[in-house]
Symmetry: C2
Subunit: 490 residues, 2 copies
């Protein structure tokens, strides 16, 4: 491995039948790719021997061309390292107008885009950019068992199972779906068999696929208000009619939904820990919702994004586990319990819909990547997953308590705290007259990441508040973080 | 790590205020989760100590409940290993009707599905299931440098860059986009800067996102006929009007497309190595296509799926590199050059469309997973990528020659060979009277994976033939594989 690898050869056309001699063609070819910016200053070029093989010509014309390119300063030779495009090309070459033909011409002629494509914006507000105290959905990376994890990853990278790397099942690998089933049946009382489980790239893709299968243009869907914006994006992108349904401390007010739109095609809910206000849906409301779905012939999309972490009460059953009519599409993610950049989640699909979900997924990205499926299967089977959840539940419980205490100490009467019984975030509502988005933008400029509450509302009755993640802030740093927060509220 | 990890606790509700004593509640809770199938025979249950902590009660009632469950045969104790749900539960329990409420009730009441969801089928024909000789899109896994690869993976798993695992950019990591740019500018003469590159889950997702941004219901799109079925699935799923355009040995016959639908919103092409017949689009046709796109205000989707491997001619420039009007969306994949279950590809997007692509991708699955982005960046920078391509080009060239020779030797006049100058597959057309789908189905039953050509056609002028992958069959095994093929043609 000591030898430096030959770089990729640039696209240079040589034609033995052309009138120009070969060395001139090679010289012109290099000049062209340099002038156009396809080869950049400082980039290594192939050895003359390797290029000659690549072009299927003898080495002599290549050597001649290289000599000329060196003499004229296009190339430079670095001892023992090879030949490079000169770092100091004359500016007239590198800013040549030919170099960026695209940007120069963009805009000429009609450039039509689909209406669906325009429904969404890539807007990324200032508070969504950072990493640190109060960042929402940020787990305690420093407590993740990267050593154990990487040893499992290594096992499946060094000598992968052929059946895993060749697995092209739209649902994912069988072993991983089995492991997820065992976990969900036990910890979430979900009713499922492996053939109902689909592995997806996080809960966002789960929502996207569910929307494709179940919802058409103009379908009505109940959404919690306030609710999870990225879910609303999916439904809006599918052309759905979003029906905001208010929530209270028992979760979605089902009767209000029935009043507003009794025949909605679906309801999207976060019953374990409502996002963002954190209520747990009561047993009565759960039965009401399930009964409505069965009588209206509707679907329920249950997003169980952070149910692993409950701090005071015993674990509760999923809505799916209470359903007797296979009306619930259950969605979970590894983003919170492991980490988000895995991009891995799952859907538990009613049996009669599995074929539809698989077809839509196949057209979307065919099947999920193999490595993390294998890794998490072992991580679960070997007990690391259960151990990690237990450890994190304790840790997040402490961080949660520290945050609640710091808020009470420093901001006592001003802020009302919501939904701190579970998960990795809580919400606070602000005194009258304060704008959460202004506060969040100001704080972001100082490196404090506060998510405003008001954009979570779809209807008119908007409250001003902040969504505060506590997963990523050690207990001992919490008082200081809260005092920074306090400064931005003044 | 010697200690066996505690399993996840099942969902058991205890209520101190209930009239039933706690030990009875725990006993009933376990009975219920076992009867319902949430805990399965042979599954380990938490230790009494750990469950007591989990439920927030003292250990005594848990011990009493466990003793009763053991006595009645629901649990069994295995020395040194813990307590388990009995392997030999009475059948009356495990096949209880309560256990699978979903399947029991599926079908009751209306179960509406979106029309879009019905447009696609999860059909998986017999020839798509196997792994071995002639399997299409199957690289030579045994020649992949898993040792080098896994050492790079390990580096990024054991101590990941925080900025990489926290990267939530819809385009992907900056470093990876830079590495891809350098490669594409050099090897494919693509005009690009990192801010135009989006990392996606394979070329299928690239097509899906492109369709979302550019095409609406009823938009017309030219597709090659015969062509790539999975691409057609995407456009059909988007509600597009597919215009089949015939191909010849110079690629898509642009004039035929102009005749049939001069104002199509887009054209989907595989100019480097037409799928499935393997033609390389000629320079004249390329200019014709680019000129049409500019004058019609249309887009070109260039799918450059296996351009790394050309066996006789010099590398050719991408269509995107010839475009002066930013009308080309360029799509590439690592599925062929590395392996498919990575699920990784990229799009080079015209600058003015980057925001739209990012918005659609965000709603679809937010951002790509971090690990392979980091891994391939290093794999490229350290020269392994270029070396692997060179090595595979030689290997596939030999396998291709062996296949062509074996076909000529054994099946000489019967089969016409198409498109063997590049890539990892070639096509043969069959003598009159043979049905490619029948042959493929029969061969699949015997473990030989032949893809029929005729389903690649959209229009009426269908030819019978076979698409033969040669990436995965060693030279010395080729004659035997071809003689197997011959048997199925008799």
């Amino acid at each position: 491995m000591a030898k430096v690898a030959e770089p990729i050869a640039p696209v240079i056309a040589v034609d033995r039948k052309a009138s120009d001699p070969l060395h001139k063609q090679v010289y012109d070819g290099f000049r062209m790719v340099i002038v156009r910016g396809n080869l950049r200053p400082g980039q290594r070029v192939p050895s003359s021997r390797s290029l000659a093989v690549e072009l299927g010509i003898s080495r002599i014309p290549v050597l001649n061309a290289y000599a000329q390119l060196l003499a004229e300063g296009y190339f430079e030779s670095r001892k023992g390292a090879g030949t490079f495009v000169s770092d100091s090309l004359p500016e007239s070459l590198t800013v040549c107008k030919e170099r960026t033909p695209q940007s120069a011409q963009v805009g000429s002629g009609p450039r039509p885009v689909a209406r669906r494509g325009l429904l969404m914006t890539a807007e990324r507000p200032p508070w969504a950019r950072g990493f640190g105290a109060f960042g929402v959905h940020q787990p305690a990376f420093e407590h993740f068992p990267f050593q154990i994890w990487s040893s499992i990853v290594a096992r499946h990278t060094r000598s992968p199972r052929l059946s895993a790397i060749h697995n092209i099942d739209a649902l994912g690998t069988e072993t991983f779906r089995e492991a997820i089933c065992t976990y969900l049946r036990t910890a979430r009382a979900v009713h499922c068999e492996p053939n109902q489980v689909m592995i997806v790239a996080g809960s966002q893709q789960a929502l996207e696929i569910s929307a494709r299968v179940l919802l058409g243009r103009g379908s009505s869907i109940w959404v919690e208000d306030p609710g999870y914006r990225l879910a609303r994006n999916v439904f809006a992108g599918a052309g759905c009619n979003l029906i905001p349904v208010p929530i209270d401390e028992d979760g979605m007010i089902v009767s209000a939904g029935i009043k507003r739109c009794p025949k909605a095609r679906a309801a999207y809910v976060t019953p374990s820990h409502q996002y963002p206000l954190g209520a747990t849906m009561s047993a009565g409301r759960r039965m009401q919702l399930l009964n409505w779905a069965q009588s209206a012939g509707s679907w329920i999309i249950e997003d169980d994004y952070d149910s692993e972490y409950r701090f005071k009460s015993a674990p509760i059953s999923s809505l799916q586990g209470l359903d007797r009519n296979a009306r619930v599409i259950y969605i979970g993610t590894f983003s919170k319990v492991l980490f988000p950049s895995l991009r891995l989640g799952y859907i538990v699909i009613p049996e009669d819909l599995v074929g539809h979900f698989a077809a839509v997924r196949s057209a979307m990205d065919i099947f999920p990547p193999y490595l993390y499926q294998e890794t998490i299967t072992d991580f679960m089977r070997e007990g690391h997953f259960a151990r990690h959840i237990r450890k994190m539940r304790l840790l997040y419980g402490q961080r949660r308590t520290a945050l609640v205490n710091s808020i009470r100490d420093q901001l006592g009467p001003e802020l009302e705290i919501h939904g701190s019984q579970a998960g990795m975030h809580l919400a606070v509502t602000l005194p009258k007259g304060l704008s959460d988005q202004e506060i969040a933008a100001r704080a972001a400029a100082k490196g404090l990441w506060l998510w405003p509450l008001s954009p979570s509302y779809l209807g008119k009755h908007t409250r001003q508040g902040l969504i505060l993640g506590f997963g990523n802030t050690p207990v001992e740093e919490m008082p200081r973080a809260v005092s920074q927060l306090r400064e931005h509220l003044r």
